[in-house]
């Protein structure tokens, strides 16, 4: 392989974007509240996502307290427990992870990494955030309506979701569905921005294949979301109509408390198909940005170019495409045709191929790298380990004959928490430690960071490894209390208590993390301009944090890909994307590096 850095090319003039394209805020309100600057919007998205995520975290503690010590917390009724389960799941998957990766990291990083001043439709981008906030508020409001929030489980399956035996089957489920519809409208506004900005607003020299993998991950995840969210939107509308107007899209003829309801003829399985047509791509809507970000963290902190960049791009695109043909592996026990089961089991195995390829490439990126065990690197390595663990149990559940006995057990809970809960969150943490200096000009406290990492990483395994065992012995998910069940050993009770203690400790570590962020914003050690010596454009701005418009009068010109680390023949072990090849040679010659 020949690296491009020493190669001289003709001087390429800077591209200039007319200032008319950039919106300048005139008041405090338009600068910090109703801001059209993607960086401010990113922080708004992140702040809101973290706030609602903390609600989800507290709900998980309450669930764990009930499971671990079922006799102690009399205020947690079975109904309340189901409401905690439902709201925790939906909050974490949609309102935290999706919003954080796309609305948070997407908004902050895309314009900077592609060399643009802002998103292409800043006003629409601003509205996107406010609609998202409205969606969150509608969701939160369901805690305060009669009957409380829905307790139908995060999958919201009809008919039980809108039958009176289910908690929150009145206003609760309607508010959930309205909130989801609002979220999707808001996301679509943001998503159009992310996609068009990547396609159209790249700076000169920034080809698609010179983009950092972070951008590839967010871009592909956004395309997936734009195609998958309509399925959830349609099902939300249809179920709202079933609930409010009494239509029978999903509702079969049914008797409730001895009374024949007016419903008839609807198909609950149709809802399941629509839900999972969204739901499985949703896994990759969260995972692909994580894949992209972790690739960049590994490359920067191991001072090596990412192994197999081209394959990594193909794998991201391939996973994205395949994610639309695996949805029914979530429905093996719905009574589907066995041939369908065979088809979806096969596609599930196939999607493991590009996914495994990425894992190999991450590992090979580390091979003989100059590995710096910084916090972002620790979290990145922890992600690889956790993702592999969660992925392997996914192969269990993707197989029909294994899935059937494990369906609706704690094994499933353990699996998806490892693969799309813990693993992406580890990447979020790594990314925050990595980009915090860019966003604030200060470093996070390293001691608190180390505490946060080790407790979170090891604690997650103390929570979820035993949970697999619980699933194997048959402990069902979503049960308020196991009670006395012949086939479940008493040790399951003690294990549940142990898991609860571990979960509380891990939860405390997140409080330390939040404290670290809040104190470091004001009192953290002042960071260098490019503390990790990274090559991508977001670190090449003249000011840190980047100012309005991101770059100076002239946009950067890109001369190479984002992975020029440890290039032979250069003194520095990194060459930023926008350094002219002549300057690289000059620096090397001056310092005798050649």
């Amino acid at each position: 392989m020949v690296d491009v850095t020493p190669e001289k090319v003709e001087y390429v003039g800077p591209a200039e974007v007319p200032e008319v394209d950039l919106y300048h805020a005139k008041t405090w309100w338009t600068k910090y509240v109703f801001s059209q600057d993607a960086k401010v919007i990113a922080i708004q998205y992140s702040g809101t996502a973290v706030a609602i995520g903390l609600v989800g975290l507290v709900l998980s503690w309450l669930m764990r307290l009930q499971l671990g010590f079922p006799e102690f917390f009399s205020f947690i009724s079975p109904d309340l427990y189901l409401q905690f389960v439902t709201m925790h799941g939906m909050i974490m998957v949609i309102y935290l992870l999706t919003a954080l990766f796309l609305g948070g990291f997407g908004n902050y990083l895309i314009p900077l990494m592609v060399g643009a001043r802002d998103m292409v439709f800043p006003f629409v981008n601003m509205v996107s955030y406010w609609v998202y906030l409205l969606a969150v508020l509608v969701l939160v409001s369901s805690f305060f309506v009669p009957g409380g929030p829905t307790g139908a489980g995060w999958t919201l399956y009809p008919p039980q979701a809108i039958l009176s035996g289910t908690p929150g089957s009145g206003a609760g489920i309607v508010l959930m569905l309205v909130s989801l519809a609002l979220f999707i409208i808001g996301f679509t506004m943001g998503g159009l921005n992310y996609v068009v900005t990547v396609l159209q607003a790249r700076t000169r020299g920034m080809t698609l294949m010179r983009l950092p993998l972070t951008v590839w991950g967010i871009f592909t995840a956004t395309v997936l979301a734009l195609l998958a969210f309509p399925a959830l939107f349609v099902s939300a509308i249809m179920m709202t109509l079933d609930s409010v107007l009494g239509t029978s899209f999903f509702m079969p003829a049914i008797v409730e408390f001895g009374e024949q309801l007016q419903y008839g003829g609807g198909s609950p399985v149709l809802f399941q198909h629509l839900f999972w047509f969204f739901g499985h791509p949703e896994v990759y809507i969260v995972a692909l940005p994580a894949f992209g970000i972790v690739s960049d963290l590994l490359s920067v902190h191991a001072r090596r170019n990412i192994f197999g960049y081209r394959m990594m791009v193909w794998a991201i695109v391939g996973i994205g495409a395949l994610s639309f043909v695996v949805w029914a592996h979530h429905m093996y026990v719905s009574g589907m045709n066995p041939y369908f089961g065979f088809f979806f089991a096969t596609t599930t195995l196939i999607i493991a191929v590009p996914t495994a390829l990425k894992v190999y490439n991450w590992t090979l990126t580390l091979w003989r790298g100059d590995i710096h065990l910084t916090l972002p690197m620790l979290f990145a390595i922890a992600f690889i380990i956790t993702f592999v663990n969660g992925g392997i149990t996914g192969l269990f559940l993707g197989n029909v004959v294994v899935d059937v006995p494990l369906s609706d057990t704690m094994f499933v809970v353990a699996h998806f928490h490892m693969v799309m809960g813990v693993a992406p969150i580890l990447v979020v943490f790594g990314a925050v430690y990595h980009w915090f200096p860019l966003m604030t000009g200060r470093m996070l406290n390293q001691a608190m960071g180390q505490f946060h990492f080790w407790v979170t990483f090891l604690g997650a395994y103390l929570i979820y490894f035993p949970m697999h065992y619980l699933g194997f012995v048959g402990v069902p998910r979503r049960y308020w209390e196991i009670g006395e069940t012949n086939f479940i050993p008493e040790s399951a009770e003690s294990l549940n208590a142990f898991i609860t203690v571990a979960a509380l400790v891990v939860g405390f570590a997140q409080v330390v993390f939040i404290y670290n962020i809040l104190t470091s914003i004001f009192k953290g050690k002042i960071s260098e301009r490019n503390p990790w010596k990274a090559t991508s454009l977001e670190w090449q701005t003249t000011t840190v944090p980047p100012g309005h418009g991101n770059f100076d009068d002239e946009l950067p010109v890109v001369y190479r890909w984002a992975y020029s680390y440890s290039v032979p023949g250069t003194v520095d072990d990194y060459t930023p994307q926008n350094v002219h090849p002549d300057d690289v040679v000059k620096i090397a010659a001056e310092q005798g590096g050649d």
Partner: protein
């Protein structure tokens, strides 16, 4: 842009660097707003397609009873077609620099779109008066829902239409509003095609 050719390139090779250094940034020569609209319409297409798939699935169940198409549906689609024609006339006028005609075309197109929406509401009232009511008939529930979804999209288009009309009234010339007029017309044509396909679908099922 040839997407697959581009992602097959090897950015680390010298030969590729020479090519990549001449890249101007954008993937398409079209304006970003045009690309944004097209992607949005792609999302809307997925939305309607999935609803039609759900409709097809629901049709297979025992209680499905087709509903007759009232005459007003035929009239409504003619009105929507006329609205689209007026918008296209506005586009042609904008390209020829005839601001007065642009204004007339936009106003007629918008008025006809509003007439279409009113006609759709009237159709629902007629159906209810004939004794059809959504909860008892899934075909009718789908018809109402799809009509509402289509109508809401048209209302959204009317917001963009209103902004463009205001710009014309504010003294903007044809060449200044050409892009907005073209985008409005494109959106109108798209919604016409969607409603036409839905209409055919309702007729044959």
């Amino acid at each position: 842009m040839d997407f697959f050719r581009e992602i097959s390139s090897k950015p680390w090779l010298e030969s590729q660097v020479a090519i990549d250094d001449t890249h101007q940034g954008g993937a398409y020569t079209l304006p970003s707003v045009t690309i944004g609209l097209r992607i949005f319409l792609g999302v809307v297409t997925v939305l309607f397609s999935l609803t039609v798939v759900a409709y097809s699935d629901r049709m297979t169940l025992a209680d499905w009873r087709p509903v007759p198409e009232p005459t007003l549906m035929w009239l409504n689609i003619v009105v929507l077609f006329a609205s689209s024609v007026a918008m296209q006339w506005s586009v042609i006028s904008a390209r020829r620099g005839r601001t007065a005609n642009v204004e007339i075309g936009m106003l007629v197109g918008g008025a006809l779109a509003l007439a279409f929406l009113a006609g759709q509401l009237l159709m629902v009232r007629q159906m209810n008066a004939l004794g059809y009511f959504a909860p008892t008939n899934p075909a009718l529930a789908f018809l109402y829902m799809l009509s509402a979804m289509h109508g809401v999209h048209l209302l959204g288009g009317l917001v963009a239409w209103g902004r463009t009309v205001m710009r014309i009234w504010g003294g903007h010339e044809a060449h200044q509003v050409r892009m907005s007029v073209e985008l409005c017309a494109f959106y109108w044509h798209f919604l016409l095609v969607v409603w036409f396909l839905l209409f055919v679908w309702f007729s044959i099922t």
